[in-house]
């Protein structure tokens, strides 16, 4: 039996899960969420939307095909901790380049394995997302230490942490998009680039004017971490962009930012939507698609000039909106998948079509 270092997860409501530490062993605090995707742990690990969070995989065997350098969704993982039932020590896949534990170690991510992840999921489902500490000081932290840790935790700067420092360009002969990177996944960039788009990618807190200066055909707002209301300056930027009359499109956090800029509201879901099996219905056609999702917040209270385009079949929540008169269109789910089903790839084409239509009209 291999020497293991005991560790435990302490939740805000006092529930504790004892297991073994792995990866980079250093105490960590984060918002504990679960994701139900059975494949794609690497994409999950590197999805900036998880910044500040401790991610629990509901599928028990994680790391089976290792880690490769191709499937990264960002330059590094931003999550605060990674919880699995069992990590794989002997991964195998033709693209496997390193194993999970080494990857976490290199990126200084604390891992916890060997806990009853289903029990944890059920706690989160019943009580909602809450903060948690992963510590190797098992049974050793005092209540006041725990309280202090929870109290000092904040995820309000997650976008700042995940965005890029400087603007960059990806050349293409097609539609020119000004992309606001609030922690955007490479999957989105790839899907747009694949369609020939020219991409001017800006840091999250770039002023609208600067973005418009590159004379884009449209603005694209991608996914990102945290509560959209934590970044009011970006919401203001989006408002300005909308006022410019240029098409504004968004995915996930981008969708929430657009909605807020249009006067709608957002609220926190009890335990979020994380996984690759969420059915959403296209309200225009009635067709249902299986989508990849990863969000804690959801758009609500639509204003009169905004209408829903997609809803979630399970809980009826809004999954997409459009402006009734302006070329503004966004979705909550992830058409780029990675990880997850590719059924809504067509959304990218729909985005581009909206832009084309505006261009032709002009």
């Amino acid at each position: 039996m291999k020497k293991t270092i005991k560790a435990e997860l302490i939740l805000e409501n006092g529930t504790r899960f004892k297991g073994n530490a792995f990866g980079y062993i250093k105490e960590t605090v984060g918002e504990v969420v679960f994701t139900t995707g059975m494949t794609g742990y690497q994409e999950t690990l590197t999805d900036p939307s998880f910044a500040g969070q401790i991610v629990t995989m509901t599928y028990p065997l994680i790391g089976n095909y290792g880690i490769n350098l191709e499937d990264m969704e960002s330059r590094k993982p931003f999550l605060k901790g990674f919880i699995v039932r069992e990590k794989c020590d002997v991964p195998n896949n033709w693209r496997c380049e390193m194993n999970l534990e080494d990857f976490l170690y290199q990126n200084k991510i604390m891992g916890l394995e060997g806990i009853d992840t289903r029990a944890l999921t059920r706690v989160l489902r019943d009580n909602g997302t809450m903060r948690g500490i992963i510590t190797t000081r098992v049974d050793d932290l005092t209540p006041s230490q725990i309280k202090q840790k929870f109290d000092t935790y904040t995820n309000a700067f997650a976008v700042k942490e995940t965005t890029i420092d400087e603007m960059y360009t990806i050349n293409g002969s097609g539609t020119h998009l000004a992309v606001l990177d609030c922690g955007i996944k490479q999957g989105i960039i790839r899907d747009l680039a694949k369609r020939g788009c020219k991409l001017s990618v800006f840091p999250a807190f770039t002023p609208a004017e600067e973005m418009l200066k590159v004379n884009p055909d449209a603005i694209f707002l991608g996914n990102g971490p945290g509560d959209p209301k934590d970044i009011p300056t970006v919401i203001e930027t989006v408002k300005t962009l909308i006022e410019s009359g240029i098409p504004v499109l968004g995915i996930c956090l981008g969708h929430q930012l657009i909605s807020l800029a249009l006067g709608c509201n957002t609220k926190r879901l009890k335990f979020g939507h994380h996984g690759g099996n969420h059915p959403v219905k296209d309200l225009k056609t009635g067709r249902v698609y299986i989508t990849s999702q990863n969000h804690e917040f959801v758009v609500c209270d639509l204003t009169d000039d905004v209408e829903p385009t997609f809803i979630n079949v399970n809980d009826g929540s809004i999954e997409g909106i459009r402006h009734k008169t302006k070329p503004i269109y966004s979705v909550q789910f992830h058409p780029e998948a990675s990880p997850g089903p590719l059924d809504t790839q067509v959304l990218f084409d729909r985005f581009l079509k909206i832009i084309e239509e505006v261009k032709t009209r002009a």
Partner: protein, 1073 residues
């Protein structure tokens, strides 16, 4: 779209008898479909020839026809019931093929029956080899490149194009003989030349070899609006080359990255979209382990064995949803019955590992060629659920009931490393244990992967189990600390395995576990990995933190299921388990079922109040008992699997409903049973256990030949045989003692009489026999393999009284409460007992349907303490109907190379069909047709080879055949006898006499019926054995018992006009309501 209200009456076609490749999974899906349609207020007309199914139960469909599955009989049903719609995909390949035939023959048009669900055009697009190829091209999906060639040069040219290695498959040779893999041109020339020679039509298929690729399956659903979902992915642990039915399968796929997974998932969805599936579909892929290259192997546009597995693995009821789609619903309009909140339009996500293991019949067919390939050989399967691959694998191994609790197998110990290496390269049923043994001896993990093609992920897990086993071996009980024990239990080892490795007994481990509170918890299968609250209590065990079971304080009873389907323990026992649950539920009792067979109705999530998907071992079942604390446990319906647990339950003071363990023992223990019979003055064939050849010969002399011989303890060797003289007996005994000198051989006097069977219900006072069954074949043929006739045709009233009397005396004496099955032989006017089984038997579903007595319901209530008299039954025999209903066995031996096919004392059939008629001959006619046999007509040619002891009887029957205008071809001896008796007969050469010989004659297709009545079975080198094998492999009707032959001639003489034959709705027309 909501329900299509123009659908009022739907025809459902079942899959017929259980055969290898088509087992209980279609009873499960068919039953679900019937229920799903019925609950929409639509009438269901059902046709299925298999009486041992839940779907053919009284009241399951509105109109139920247990009639032969041919388009003629289905047309009769359509003409009588006039359904407006037919659903094609619920009865396996049989149902699908029949639906296509009905369509092609214009019968559906003629009666205005429309196909709902997946259309015939779509089915054909997916099934037909050429259109499949075109479809794949159209949808840009790669397939395995192949071409049919008729000469070697063309083969070489094609191979150059697709690249080596290539697989050579000769057309129309059986068991894949003459094929092979060619790595280069020289090899191809050799193999192809040989293959062309062996192929009857001079064709071989040249196919690109994808040996070693991963085999991945997806279960996909699509509705009429085009919404698509995948229910589950599955990965074969064995790479491409082993039939998926013979492979260990894991769900979900374990070794695929998201990119690979989504690539295949998207491909599956594109395919079903392009052929417009409306319902479920299975798509099989081969995936190169070293690139993104893949190929679509095949698609099955219907429910399947894999869809049953996927349903059980995820909790998603594929058949039920497919039926709703056929009725017009869209996926987002169908509720997810497991959560009650979400909809069927989502993809299940699971938080455990599921393994499926095939169950092979090689324990019964010891002579069989066990090499696994592209033709399925498993009769059944088990499924195991664990939190890790290792724990699921260990659960799976102990669910198989092959005496294994870990990976160390005795048979593997005997081989050298070199021998083991040879063995694992060519997969057989023991490969898992052989490769584990190699790892145990230090053979490199990577090398095992290389020579088996199995993924390192799997092999390293197996290596981990082996390592743990070795660690345990180096430990003794004192060293087993709390932490260590907890670790090995979490890992997945059973107490039995642990105790075996460290050298103690299971109770030692159990005691420690109790002391340290190391007990499993139960987790729920809920389709959603805990994301939503689930309402269907479907559980598996795990050594973990949180127990999710909510134990009620209601009165509850646990029913132990029968595990995997195998020869001798088939779907009949699942039927009984399910009915017992229904009876208990009706009585207001909470029901708990424990079983591990994913193909069955019993493991459907809403059959019982609670389902535990667990191995049926002492420890695993005890865990559930200790959690649930049921008021009683029922063992009588789970076959030997459940009965085996009786003594253990007794020791653990677990309340057993029905016959008590000590009384079960009295019936099962030969000596105790003899004493009971002695006391009651009931006759049984005299017999004795012998230890030496001399003793044996003397005993046989005393008993008088022929004698029935069998080892008291079967050790991978000889089975039961009838020997007719000293020479045969000596040979048998010599061989038997050579193989195993430590156990006696049992010798019984063989009574060549009429075999009679009853299933009775006893409440301690009264004994009720729903019906007496008479066997068509005389004693010597296993009761499961003979044709059962009800009501009996040749049993006198006096004998009936005697049967009732003996049944009553014996049931009372054995303190039977509930079911008992008794087999008799009527010999020269005397009633002899040959066997008593203090449990439900395989004839119960049949007798329930043909007598109309709800046998299991009554038996269950009796076990709960009710009296027969209060239920309206008294000591006596049930009223007999004015029709004849018989059960005809169905065999799958053609799929098992080198297995004996003649009828004998060992059971070989896998399934059964029913034949119902106004007369015995009508019933037989239907039974033969339903069993796939051809009844000869005027001008038919019969090939005969009959052992000399049967010549006299045979001649008489042959004369009748000649009178009916049949011709004979026979081997020398048989021909001479026929000629001597004035019957014209062509002589055919024996195999040793050169070509063309009898084998060529059979293969040539000129024969309509082969009659081979052997003297001795299991002699693989004999001509007879080869003749019988050739006949079944050529899909020809073969008769191996004189009585069956006589019955067939009886039927021929009646010149039955099939067009005029009545069909019977078992709900109405059997006169019992």
């Amino acid at each position: 779209m909501p329900k299509d209200n123009s659908i009022k009456k739907v025809l459902v076609i079942g899959s017929g008898p259980i055969v290898i490749g088509q087992a209980a999974e279609f009873d499960y899906s068919g039953t679900q479909a019937c229920q799903s349609i019925k609950e929409e207020g639509i009438e269901v007309v059902l046709i299925n020839s298999n009486p041992a199914t839940i779907m053919t139960d009284l009241g399951m469909a509105h109109y139920t026809y247990i009639e032969p599955l041919t388009i003629d009989f289905i047309e009769k049903v359509i003409a009588k019931e006039r359904p407006d719609s037919i659903i094609a995909g619920m009865g396996g390949q049989t149902g699908l093929n029949l639906s296509c035939e009905l369509y092609d023959a214009g019968i559906l048009d003629k009666y205005n029956v429309r196909v709902i669900g997946t259309s015939i055009e779509s089915i054909k697009e997916g099934e037909d080899r050429d259109s499949f190829k075109q479809l794949m091209e159209k949808t840009n999906q790669p397939i395995v490149e192949s071409d049919i060639v008729t000469d070697v040069e063309a083969a070489v040219k094609f191979a150059d194009k697709i690249g080596y290695p290539v697989i050579v498959r000769p057309a129309y040779t059986l068991g894949g003989t003459g094929g092979g893999i060619a790595a280069n041109e020289a090899e191809l020339r050799e193999i192809c030349g040989q293959g062309l020679h062996l192929s009857r039509v001079g064709q071989v298929l040249i196919e690109k070899s994808i040996a070693g690729w991963k085999e991945i399956e997806f279960e996909v659903m699509r509705d009429g609006a085009g919404n698509c979902i995948t229910v589950c992915s599955m990965e074969n642990v064995d790479p491409v080359g082993v039939h998926t039915g013979d492979s260990i399968v894991v769900a979900p796929a374990q070794t695929l990255s998201d990119r690979e997974y989504q690539m295949l998932r998207s491909a599956a969805i594109n395919i079903i979209n392009s052929i417009e599936i409306k319902g479920g579909c299975n798509v099989q892929f081969a995936l190169d382990p070293n690139s993104y290259n893949y190929a679509v192997i095949e698609i099955n546009p219907r429910v399947s064995r894999s869809s049953a597995l996927a349903s059980k693995a995820t909790g998603y009821p594929i058949a039920k949803v497919a039926a709703k789609i056929a009725l017009g619903y869209n996926l987002d309009e169908i509720k997810n019955a497991v959560t009650g909140k979400t909809f069927a339009c989502f993809e299940p996500t699971i938080d455990y590992v599921v393994l499926k293991f095939p169950r092979w019949p090689f324990d019964k067919f010891f002579g069989a060629k066990r090499t696994l390939g592209t033709k399925m050989m498993a009769t059944g399967e088990i499924m195991s659920i664990g939190k890790s691959f290792e724990s699921a694998l260990l659960k799976g191994v102990r669910s198989l009931e092959i005496g294994q609790y870990g990976l160390e197998r005795k048979s593997a110990k005997e081989f050298s490393l070199e021998e083991l290496k040879q063995k694992v390269v060519k997969p057989d049923d023991e490969r898992l244990f052989y490769l584990a043994e190699m790892l145990r001896r230090g053979y490199k993990v990577e090398k095992v992967c290389q020579i088996t093609g199995m993924d390192l992920f799997f092999i390293s897990k197996i290596a981990k189990i082996v390592e743990m086993e070795e660690n345990l071996k180096n430990m003794n009980l004192d060293e087993l600390t709390e932490d260590k024990l907890r670790f090995v239990k979490e890992f997945g080892f059973s107490d039995k395995a642990i105790s075996k490795f460290i050298g103690c007994i299971p109770p030692d481990i159990y005691k420690l576990r109790k002391e340290w509170n190391i007990m499993p918890v139960f987790k729920m299968v809920d389709t959603c990995a805990g994301e939503f609250e689930a309402v269907t209590p479907y559980y598996y065990s795990s050594y973990d933190m949180e127990n999710e079971v909510v134990v009620s304080d209601k009165k509850k009873v646990m029913v132990i299921g029968s595990g995997p389907i195998r020869i001798g323990q088939g779907i009949e026992f699942d039927y009984c388990s399910v009915h017992s649950i229904m009876a208990l539920r009706k009585a207001g009792i909470e029901t708990i079922i424990v079983n591990n067979n994913p193909e069955t109705v019993s493991t459907d999530f809403d059959t019982a109040d609670k389902l535990y998907f667990e191995p049926l071992t002492e420890e695993d079942v005890l865990n559930i008992v200790e959690t649930e604390k049921p008021d009683g446990v029922i063992l009588q319906f789970g076959g030997q699997t459940a009965i085996k647990l009786a003594n253990f339950f007794d020791e653990m003071n677990i309340p057993i409903l029905g016959t008590l363990p000590k009384h079960i023992d009295e019936a099962e223990d030969r000596e105790k049973f003899d004493a009971v019979l002695e006391k009651l003055g009931i006759a049984r064939p005299k017999g004795k256990g012998v230890w030496t050849l001399k003793d044996g010969i003397e005993t046989a002399e005393r008993l008088g030949y022929p004698v029935l011989v069998r080892p008291s303890y079967v050790l991978g060797g000889q089975g039961m045989e009838i020997t007719h003289n000293e020479a045969e007996l000596s040979l048998y005994l010599t061989e038997a003692f050579e193989k195993d000198s430590k156990n006696p051989v049992l010798i019984d006097r063989y009574l060549s009489g009429r075999e009679i069977e009853v299933d009775a219900i006893c409440d301690g006072t009264d004994v009720f026999i729903p019906g007496i069954m008479e066997h068509l074949e005389r004693a010597g043929v296993h009761s499961g393999d003979s044709i059962s006739i009800y009501p009996p045709q040749h049993i006198s009233d006096e004998m009936r009284e005697k049967i009732l009397d003996v049944t009553k005396k014996l049931s009372i004496a054995l303190n039977v409460i509930g079911m008992v099955n008794i087999q008799f032989i009527e010999f020269k006017g005397e009633l002899n007992i040959i066997e008593v089984n203090p449990r439900s038997s395989r004839t119960v579903p049949y007798i329930t349907k043909v007598t109309g007595v709800p046998v299991i319901d009554v038996a269950t209530r009796v076990m709960l303490g009710e009296k027969l008299a209060d239920l309206g039954y008294y000591t006596g025999i049930g009223k007999e109907p004015d029709v004849v209903a018989l059960k005809v066995p169905v065999f799958s031996t053609e799929k098992l190379p080198q297995v004996e096919v003649s009828l004998g004392p060992e059971m070989r059939s896998t399934g059964e069909v029913l034949g119902v008629g106004r007369t015995l001959e009508e019933a037989l006619y239907k039974g033969f047709i339903a069993a796939g046999m051809t009844v000869p007509k005027t001008g038919s040619t019969i090939l005969a080879t009959v052992s000399s002891k049967d010549h006299e009887e045979f001649v008489e029957v042959a004369k009748r055949c000649v009178a009916l205008g049949c011709n004979f071809i026979a081997t020398k001896g048989t021909a001479r006898v026929l000629n001597e008796n004035g019957i014209d007969c062509k002589v055919v050469k024996k195999i040793s006499e050169g070509v063309p010989n009898i084998i060529d004659t059979i293969r040539s297709g000129v024969i309509d019926l082969t009659v081979d009545i052997p003297k001795k079975a299991n002699d693989v080198d004999s001509d007879g054995f080869k003749i019988r094998r050739t006949a079944v492999e050529s899909d020809m009707t073969l008769i191996t018992a004189m009585d069956t032959f006589k019955a067939m001639v009886d039927v021929m003489e009646k010149k039955i006009d099939q067009d005029k034959l009545e069909i019977f709705d078992i709900n109405r027309d059997l006169g019992h309501n």
